[in-house]
C-alpha cells in the first residue's frame, strides 16, 4: 500500500491531475474504493458484480480498506452494511439482479434509518428462465426505496459517481443511501480508457458526529434505545410520526439536488437540446443513442440527446422544460417494462410526446439502427 494524503473532495474530483488508464468497469470500482477512505466493505458474489467486490477484497489485503468480509447471502450483506453505517463508519458494497431482489427488504430501511451507505448495482436480468445478462429492470423496483440513484453510462462515470456518492450521501442534510448503477457486462466487463487521479490521495474520512441521527452503539444504553423503532400501535400518534418520518426521507432527497448539481454538474446533461426529437435515456442506452443521433444528424434530422445521470432525485423541472420545446421524446431502454418512459410521462405536460421505444431485454444489445427506426417513425 502506498501512503495516501487526505485531500478535499473538491480537489480529488476537479483539481487533481488525472492519468489515462485502460481498465474494466469492475477495475474502475476498485480504483474508486482505493481513494474513498472506506472503513468497511462487505461482499457476496453474484454475476456480473462478483469481480468488482473481489477486487475490493484485493485492496483490503493491501490495506486500503480497514475491514472486509463475505456475508452469508445478499440479505445478510445489506443488513451488515446497515449495522456498520449505524455504528458510524463509511461502508461500501455491491450487488446486482437477483442479489438485489434477495436483499430487497433491507433497502427501504437504509433510507428510513438515514444511513449513508454507497452500494453499486451491476444490473442484470431477474426473470425466469435464468439470465445473467444485462437488463435494468431492477432499477424499476428500487425507485421508491428512498435511496438516491445515479446511473453510469461508462466506467469513467462509475468511478467518479462512486467517489462523489460518498460525499453527497454523508451530507448532514441528505444522509441517505446512494445506489450507483452500471449496466452489467456492458460497463463492468468491457475495457475503456479512464482518466483517474493517482492513488496517493484519498477522501476525508466520514464524520458520524454530524449525522442527523445518533450513531448507534448496539451494546450500550442510552444510545441503543435512541434508535428503537416506533411502538407498533394502531393510533394516530404512531401514524403521524411514521408519516412525518417518511416525508423527511423524501425531503433529504430534495436537498441532495444542490450537491448533485455541484459534483455531477447537474442531474442531466444535453447535446443539441433544441432539436425537434430528443433521445432521453440513461446508462449505456446513452452510448447507443449518441451513435444514433450522430447518424440521424448526418442525414439532416434534428435530433438531440439527454443523458440522465440522476434517477433519484429525478430531474423533473429540467425534463419538463426540455419537453416543452421538443416535438417528440424517444426513450430507449434496456428493460421490458419501460420504467424510465413512465417516469418521463409522469412529469411532463404532454405525455403523448413520449415514445417508449426501443426496448431490448434478456441480454439483447441495442443497435443504433433500432433507435434510428424510431427517429424516422416520429419524423415522417
Amino acid at each position: 500500500m502506498i501512503e495516501q494524503k487526505v485531500v478535499t473532495p473538491e480537489y480529488l474530483f476537479f483539481e487533481a491531475e488525472r492519468k489515462k488508464q485502460l481498465m474494466t468497469g469492475s477495475e474502475a470500482v476498485r480504483e474508486a474504493i482505493r481513494k474513498a477512505n472506506v472503513d468497511m466493505a462487505i461482499s457476496y458474489p453474484i454475476t456480473p458484480q462478483s469481480e468488482s467486490m473481489h477486487l475490493v477484497g484485493d485492496i483490503f489485503a493491501e490495506g486500503y480498506v480497514k475491514e472486509y468480509f463475505r456475508g452469508e447471502n445478499e440479505f445478510a450483506v445489506m443488513s451488515s452494511v446497515a449495522g456498520a453505517a449505524m455504528a458510524g463508519v463509511r461502508v461500501f458494497t455491491a450487488t446486482g439482479g437477483p442479489g438485489t431482489m434477495r436483499a430487497f427488504e433491507v433497502f427501504p430501511t437504509w433510507a428510513g434509518a438515514r444511513l449513508p451507505i454507497v452500494c453499486a448495482f451491476m444490473t442484470r436480468g431477474v426473470n425466469s428462465p435464468l439470465t445473467i445478462q444485462p437488463d435494468t429492470i431492477e432499477m424499476a423496483y428500487l425507485l421508491e426505496t428512498g435511496m438516491l440513484m445515479l446511473h453510469a453510462e461508462t466506467a469513467q462515470d462509475l468511478h467518479d459517481m462512486i467517489l462523489k456518492a460518498f460525499i453527497v450521501a454523508e451530507k448532514t442534510d441528505v444522509h441517505v443511501p446512494v445506489g450507483v448503477f452500471a449496466d452489467g457486462f456492458f460497463v463492468t466487463h468491457t475495457k475503456e480508457t479512464l482518466e483517474i487521479p493517482e492513488p496517493n490521495i484519498k477522501l476525508p474520512s466520514y464524520n458520524p458526529y454530524s449525522s442527523p441521527v445518533p450513531p448507534m452503539d448496539m451494546e450500550n444504553v442510552p444510545v441503543r434505545q435512541m434508535r428503537d423503532p416506533f411502538v407498533m400501535k394502531s393510533n394516530f400518534i404512531s401514524y403521524a410520526a411514521h408519516a412525518s418520518w417518511q416525508q423527511e426521507v423524501d425531503a433529504a432527497a430534495e436537498r441532495s439536488r444542490k450537491y448533485l448539481e455541484t459534483y455531477l454538474g447537474g442531474l442531466l446533461e444535453t447535446e443539441n437540446e433544441d432539436a425537434d426529437v430528443l433521445l432521453v435515456t440513461s446508462g449505456t442506452a446513452v452510448c447507443q443513442s449518441r451513435e444514433a443521433m450522430a447518424i440521424a444528424r448526418a442525414q439532416g434530422l434534428s435530433v438531440g440527446l439527454v443523458k440522465l445521470k440522476s434517477i433519484r432525485p429525478f430531474p423533473t423541472e429540467e425534463i419538463r422544460a426540455l419537453a416543452t420545446r421538443a416535438r417528440a421524446i424517444i426513450v430507449p431502454e434496456f428493460n421490458r417494462v419501460g420504467w424510465l418512459a413512465k417516469e418521463i410521462k409522469s412529469v411532463i405536460d404532454e405525455p403523448r410526446k413520449v415514445v417508449g421505444a426501443p426496448r431490448v431485454y434478456g441480454g439483447m444489445t441495442m443497435p443504433p439502427e433500432i433507435i434510428l427506426d424510431e427517429i424516422r417513425r416520429v419524423t415522417r
Binding site: R114, D228, V231, I237, A240, A243, E248, D250, A251, E254
Partner: protein, 192 residues
Amino acid sequence: MNGLKYKVVAGPEGFLPPAAASMGVELPEAGQALVEGCSVCASEGLQKIAEKLVGAENPVFFPGPLILWNWKDGVAEKAVALKELAEAVGAKIIPMPDYRPKYPMINPAIEVNPNHPNLTIWHNKIDVCVFIGVHCHYANVALKIIRGGTNCYTIALCGEAGHEDAMVSLRDAGLAELKKLTALVRKLKGEV
C-alpha cells in the same frame, strides 16, 4: 406545487402537512437564516427569534441530547449559555433527552419527544418553542408534526445546516450566536 411560494407558518396546518423541502423551501447558505421559508441574513434571523421569544406568552426551550450530554469540547459552555438565554427570556426548559417513542407513557409536563411533540405543546400551552441540540432528522420529524396539529411558533437553533420545517431557523448556531441572542433579548426587554 402550484407555483405559489410555500410559507412555513404556525399551524394547525392540517391533517398531514408536507415537508417544506418538498415544497421548494431550501436550506440557508452559510451566513443566512430561514424565516418562514425565506432566506434572510443571519442577523435578521437572530432579531426575529429574539422578538418572537420576548413577545411570547409561554416560550419553552427543547434541548436535545447534543446539548444535554457533555460529549465533546464546547458543549458544556453552550449549555450554560442556553440556560442564560432561557433565564433572560423567562422561558421554561423542557428536555428531549432521547428519541424513543414514549406514547402513551410520556409525562408531557416534564419532557418532549420527537415522535409526539404535540402532546407536550398542548399540555403546557406552549406558544413559542425552540429546538436546540436535537439531531436534525428528529427535529424535522417533530417540527412537521407541530406545524400540522398545533399553533405553536417553532424556532430551530441548529448547529448544522438548519431546518426548513421550522418557522425560523439558524444554521451553524454556536456559542457566539447564543450569546448574541441573549444580548438581543435583554435589549428588547429594556434591561440594557
